[in-house]
Symmetry: C2
DNA sequence: GATATTTAGTCCACAACGTAGACTAATTGG
DNA sequence: CCAATTAGTCTACGTTGTGGACTAAATATC
């Protein structure tokens, strides 16, 4: 059930509405804001005054001229005050990003490490160092880090912040949040979900799409009308375990013939001839050299992805499909097969089959999404930032 | 982006909050309402006075006694004023239900007809007659029908109210809404979605579940935190076309090995030995007689359903799975296999596998959900009912 | 059985917030 | 230079929720 609305809540919502409009449109005059929000000029002026006082917004010297009449003074989000921390632990790297309120990336720190061979505690300690040094630098630049989020490759219990099972890292029941403790409000979430949000806020993309994350495992994040779909307990989007062939190779999830067995990084890169095989770029090299084994692996992966996506489209009806992770460099060799498979399996019934695109954010999507999520929260409720709830 | 909140919107929300609380808890005193909503006694009294004046709520003579102090006067939803119409066109029947604001079913009309052999126009005309007579009777009983919804077996374009393709009825591009025109605000929606909502509001069920509708086709409606998930365009939940086996029998959707080919009514009932086979009850008879062909068909259907549901659980993370339609009478013969298949395919990774239950609403789930949706809307925004928007 | 206690509901002065429209400010067009 | 036009502020006002005093109606206690 919704909450009671009192004067303060009314004000908070309108404040958020104004801030959100400024954020969405870059910069606007008070008059334009009044038109966009439906509030009166008087009210907008008051709200903007509040936002300026808080330091969330500034008047740009620039004024909108050209037309007749008194020129308006534009306001825009102030990027030099409030910022958020985006963190990611993945199998072979750690990433830290600082994003300010205007959604500019202020700081990037990435470290290549093999996190599979290290203990969770050590990985987290390393991330902690990286994050703290980034926070220090940001604070030195006058930024106030109001919160952060951490992406991990695997399902996470959102409430407790415990990673129950991240098979690709070899983690089980790791209480990341309490181990990390940066003295900043933090939360953890699935890498695919946060990458999807990264795509939403930092990509050129649409507001309705399924983001497919091709890492060691395959995950997906579904964004509908600009917000993330998490399912009942927050474990939605496990695309890697959608059934491609019910009697296919056994999977560590207990099933058989899951997508991951055909299009997961191990299957895709290792499938060439049993040898451990290099990274994705080695694979790309072979593909360019028209290596038949590599081409066949891609073909199979593309077909399997198409099959799994056809189930997904039927269940979840995304508008667009955005491929990320390893699927980006491999797209020239799998794109067509995926599209064709999807088309042939859905074409008869659906009016339109969702187009398949490629993410342009690279591996930083998740860390950006993590930081963006915090920024988004501030914009959606700036009042909360000013008056933090009294701790009991 | 959200809308500006003005005083009238604030009031409308609080009105909805009070009405919603009364609706959810049966009957409450003003004092209890104040506690539940967080509003002051004064405000609650004013709002309740409004609701009483509107006729949405009444004071019950009864008062809550027993304890010390002045007894409170309880108020409850008034069921004798406002009601909604729930309609369903299915393959072999038409159903009309009238549900009042207190969610009591006031009227049931069902007609068995073979809608596959009739023209859409005729089917709709027949439903129209049935609905109008029901409305007449309801109006005669002092009810005001404020709106209605129609369930059809197949994906519907919510905006236009056009059924693009309902293969089980043999319909293509039928503008149901404009043909039906009852002089009451109406909308159309997928049968599975509305049945899921029926289960939510009239079943004994939970607020997070996947409802599986076993009709000629197989559909699903996903309810998360008490609201329906529709996907980007409203076509989510096509469980019948989730892939069970990628090279299985061809399906009319263009794919192969879709769930519908294994567990759809035709496959399930027809699969016995090529003969047209009677209805579900004939099948049940054979199963009771331990007919091996019937048992095998059930086994296969249960297995396929388990496979498709394992993909679904991975993608969409439902808390519970509720089976409806033909799966209800067949449950004794398929339940175990579904559960086992699901368990063995998900058990390794998931902390808990969603339990599988059976709907108790029978075939009226969709029509009830349809009416319930309208009632829900009134309770969520009673102010809109009082001041209908001025038509342009 | 009278009185204290407790709880329900109403009343009234007040505060918070948005509105409407008059008013001032700063441009461009003629 | 003045009219027209648009931006932004100012002020009186309306709507709505609040808080606490007040009335009402029951039970508990002596």
């Amino acid at each position: 059930m919704t909450q009671a609305v009192r004067h303060d809540a009314m004000r908070a919502r309108n404040l958020a509405l104004v801030l959100g409009s400024v954020s969405a449109r870059g910069s606007l005059t008070r008059a334009a804001l009044a038109e966009v929000t439906g509030l009166t000029k008087t009210t907008v002026s008051k709200l903007v005054a509040d936002l300026i006082e808080t330091g969330l917004v500034v008047e740009t010297g620039a004024v909108r001229g050209g037309e007749r009449g008194r020129p308006g003074v534009e306001v825009r989000i102030r990027g030099d005050r409030v910022a958020a921390l985006g963190l990611e632990i993945n199998v072979d790297y750690l990433a830290v990003r600082v994003v300010d309120l205007s959604r500019s990336v202020r700081l990037r720190r990435t470290q290549a490490v093999d996190n599979r061979s290290a203990q969770p505690v050590d990985v987290i300690a390393r991330l902690r160092d990286l994050a703290l040094s980034a926070v220090d630098e940001a604070v030195g630049n006058g930024l106030r880090i109001v919160g952060g989020a951490l992406a991990v490759p695997g399902p996470v219990d959102l409430g407790s912040g415990v990673v129950h099972n991240a098979p690709n890292l070899g983690w089980r029941d790791v209480p990341v949040l309490s181990l990390l403790d940066l003295g900043i409000p933090l939360h953890v979430e699935n890498e695919a979900n946060l990458a999807a949000l990264g795509e939403l806020w930092f990509g050129s993309g649409p507001t309705d799409f399924l983001y497919v994350s091709g890492e060691i495992g395959i995950g997906a994040g579904l964004v509908v009308a600009g917000s993330l779909f998490r399912g009942a307990r927050g474990f939605a989007g496990e695309l890697g375990h959608v059934v491609v062939s019910p009697d296919g190779p056994p999977c560590r999830c207990g099933g058989r013939g899951c997508l991951e067995q055909y299009a997961g990084q191990d299957a895709l890169l290792g499938a060439q001839n049993g040898a451990p095989a290099g990274g994705v770029m080695t694979m790309v090299g072979r593909l360019k050299a028209q290596d038949p084994a590599a081409t066949a692996a891609c073909h199979q992966a593309g077909w399997a992805l198409g099959v799994a996506l056809s189930s997904t489209v039927n269940l979840v009806d995304p508008d667009t499909i955005v491929l990320g992770g390893v699927f980006v460099p491999l797209f020239p060799w799998i794109g067509d097969i995926v599209t064709q498979t999807l088309q042939s399996r859905l074409g008869q019934m659906r009016v339109s089959v969702p187009p398949i695109m490629v993410s342009h954010l690279g591996f930083e999507a998740a860390a950006l999404g993590a930081a963006g999520q915090v920024i988004e929260r501030v914009i959606a409720d700036p009042a909360a930032l000013l008056q933090p709830p009294i701790p009991d």
